[in-house]
């Protein structure tokens, strides 16, 4: 039953005076019966229903009716349990918090271990997300419903209410900053927003939904050592290759500097690997742990060209592979003696064993590694210094001689004297 305008107006007026009138209202019945949803909606169904502070207390019957709880026939007082025995209406404005855990005990238990719950426990002022911040209140829908705030494609925007809000990021001291902005241009963000791929990961696929933990927490899905397994939930083949390679092996041995997925790919700004910008970034990234290799790469043709932005030339991964990188001495390595020719052939179809003797990391200062180059560089050094020193002095002397007693005139006077001699 929908309230008429008249009853709405009467009840609304009653609501506004509720706080003073509460005690004087007599009970209608001797056996208290919990109010039905219709009883509640008699007041709250009015879209303009508001509390004394002006905040809307409306519960739109359509929205609630379409919600997962409305569909299931859940009564208002099932959640607002403190109103179940109330017989005096309008009721007190301040209600007890809704305990979602009463029904959703498993989710609530997980939530209690999360960084959000931790923040709320630490400070009553915390704005860290509780159930309703992600799920909403009366209009909660199943996460399978495209209109739900937690629907797969909607979740980044939902997390973004806080993680894209500068004020909350500042107050919560969230180190990563506006992560939603970072994510939305990434390959995963684009797959969700542009391609509408429900198989593409949203926030919860890496971070979980309820038990989100700090990355420094060993139990977190984004804890450094766990990241390959987390990414591997989707990228299983890559994970397997990674774990066989040197980097995965180093991680398994517990080396703290072993790179995991996010070191090369970043966490939230993952790009397509064919892109020029990613290729140049990842080369610098490899160089952050392999500075010598980076230096010698930059000193040779491939590195010089890519530095100029021409990324079709080989970068690290083109020769060394990406996930299953092995040391050169390992026959599985793409740069091992057994396989280097076929690796060169990827770009240089005419490559042969002689061709492969080219050192893409040649170091002219390293006599042991590149003796010919070492001596060639010494020769060139002497040649350059010799030529420029001799002609530098020659030029300086000539200039000073010709310039001395007044421009132009001087040399002619000199010459005149000379021809007479």
């Amino acid at each position: 039953m929908r309230p008429t305008r008249f009853t709405t107006a009467v009840l609304f007026a009653a609501c506004l005076t509720a706080s003073t009138a509460l005690a004087q209202k007599p009970a209608a019945s001797a056996v208290p019966k919990p109010p039905t949803n219709d009883d509640c909606l008699a007041c709250h169904g009015d879209p303009s229903a508001a509390g004394s502070n002006g905040r809307s207390v409306a519960v739109l019957p359509d929205k609630f009716g379409a919600s997962v709880h409305g569909q299931a026939g859940i009564a208002c007082v099932d959640c607002h349990a403190d109103l179940a025995r109330t017989t005096d209406f309008p009721h007190a404005e301040k209600l007890a918090p809704v305990a979602c855990a009463k029904c959703h005990d498993a989710a609530a238990a997980k939530y209690d271990t999360s960084v959000h719950a931790e923040a709320r426990r630490a400070s009553t002022q915390s704005v860290a997300a509780a159930c309703k911040d992600c799920h909403g209140t009366h209009e909660i829908r199943s996460s399978k419903d495209p209109d739900s705030a937690t629907y797969h494609l909607n979740l980044p925007a939902t997390c973004g209410h806080c993680h894209g809000n500068a004020e909350i990021i500042r107050r919560g001291r969230i180190a990563i900053g506006n992560v939603v902005a970072q994510f939305q241009d990434s390959i995963h963000g684009q797959a969700l927003s542009r391609s509408g791929l429900t198989v593409a990961p949203n926030c919860k696929d890496c971070h979980n939904a309820h038990d989100i933990k700090r990355k420094t927490d060993a139990a977190s899905t984004v804890f450094r050592a766990t990241i390959p397994a987390t990414c591997g939930r989707c990228h299983e083949g890559v994970q397997r290759r990674y774990l066989t390679g040197v980097h995965g092996e180093a991680l398994a041995k517990g080396r703290p500097d072993a790179p995991v997925c996010v070191n090369c790919h970043s966490a939230h700004q993952i790009q397509r690997t064919e892109g020029a910008s990613w290729k140049s970034q990842v080369t610098a990234e490899c160089g952050s742990c392999h500075p010598e290799s980076n230096r010698t790469y930059r000193d040779t043709f491939h590195g010089q060209e890519t530095q100029l932005g021409f990324m079709r030339v080989a970068t690290c991964a083109d020769c060394h592979g990406a996930h299953d990188i092995f040391p050169k001495r390992d026959v599985r390595s793409t740069v091992s003696a057994a396989r280097e020719v076929s690796t060169c052939k990827k770009c240089h179809p005419g490559a042969n064993p002689s061709f492969a003797q080219y050192d893409p990391h040649a170091d002219r200062h390293n006599r042991a590694r590149d003796p010919l180059l070492f001596y060639a560089s010494k020769f060139m050094e002497v040649l350059l210094i010799g030529v420029f020193a001799f002609f530098g002095i020659h030029t300086a002397l000539w200039a000073s001689r010709a310039v001395k007693p007044g421009l132009g005139q001087s040399s002619r006077r000199d010459d005149g004297r000379r021809t007479q001699e």
């Binding site: 043709f301 003797q357 000379r418």
Partner: protein, 271 residues
């Protein structure tokens, strides 16, 4: 009265050489200094690293063409026209004892310890310029071809030589660019008695006064042999010196700008 110093063949060849040299310098230096910020911007002028490489190869072909034409003409003079003075004597580029003598005398003159030497047709620094280019052609051209066609050269050279080729190509390029844009510019154009330029390589002509003043030995030799009128020419068309000046201003400006970029890179950006 004007005398011919460079015929039209050599003037044109120098023009092509000059254009290709500038082109090679501006398309090659970005790669050598790829770690310095101006490199990307300079390469972008040619459409980025890749197309700068293509333009570099086009200019390289021009320059190789120059060398081939020059050597072909030299061979023609030597074997067909039997001009043996190409090999020795004042008209030859071959370094000769008198060059050492003249160089030492010139240095003494710089220090006011003696009179200015009496030069003939080619001075020692001109011969140095010539042979520096010749040497550079061999080394830079050869290494450049190796780098252009590594798969072909891998059939006759071990790959480790490609490293040498890459390094030497860059360093020789640096030497050539540094030498031409400073020493050659000064010796031929910017020195006070020529400043701002000597148009002889464009007009091909020197005045009788210039010939007498700068190359007295040549002047005396030709006069004594009554051969001065053999090289006597009419004045150049009026547009020639004007064009020469414009071309030289552009070339010298570009060259000095490149020297500035290199000095900036070596002195500041890499430290």
């Amino acid at each position: 009265m004007e005398y011919q110093r460079f015929d039209i063949y050599n003037r044109l060849l120098h023009g092509v050489l000059m254009v290709s040299f500038l082109g090679l310098a501006f398309t090659g230096m970005p790669l050598l200094f790829s770690d310095v910020p101006w490199a990307i911007r300079l390469a972008a002028v040619f459409g980025g690293g890749h197309s700068a490489g293509i333009v570099h190869r086009i200019f390289a072909s021009m320059m190789i063409g120059c060398v081939v034409l020059h050597v072909w003409r030299l061979m023609h003079r030597l074997y067909v026209k039997k001009e043996l003075d190409v090999l020795w004597g004042p008209a030859s580029m071959t370094p000769q004892p008198r060059d050492v003598v003249e160089m030492l005398a010139h240095l003494r003159w710089f220090l006011r310890l003696g009179p200015q030497p009496r030069f003939d047709h080619f001075t020692y620094w001109e011969k140095f310029d010539y042979w520096a280019v010749f040497w550079g052609m061999g080394v830079i051209g050869g290494s450049g071809l190796v780098l252009w066609f590594p798969e072909v050269f891998s059939k006759i050279l071990p790959g480790s030589w490609f490293n040498i080729a890459l390094f030497v190509h860059g360093e020789e390029g640096l030497l050539a660019v540094g030498f031409i844009f400073t020493i050659h510019f000064f010796n031929s154009h910017l020195r006070p008695d020529k400043f701002p330029m000597d148009p002889v390589i464009f007009t091909g002509r020197v005045s009788e006064h210039e010939l007498m003043e700068e190359r007295p030995a040549e002047y005396e030799r030709l006069r004594a042999g009554r051969r001065l009128d053999e090289i006597e020419v009419g004045p150049a068309a009026a547009w020639v010196p004007r064009l020469a000046k414009a071309v030289a201003v552009v070339a010298v400006t570009l060259g000095l700008a490149m020297v500035g970029l290199i000095l900036y890179a070596v002195l500041f950006a890499r430290l």
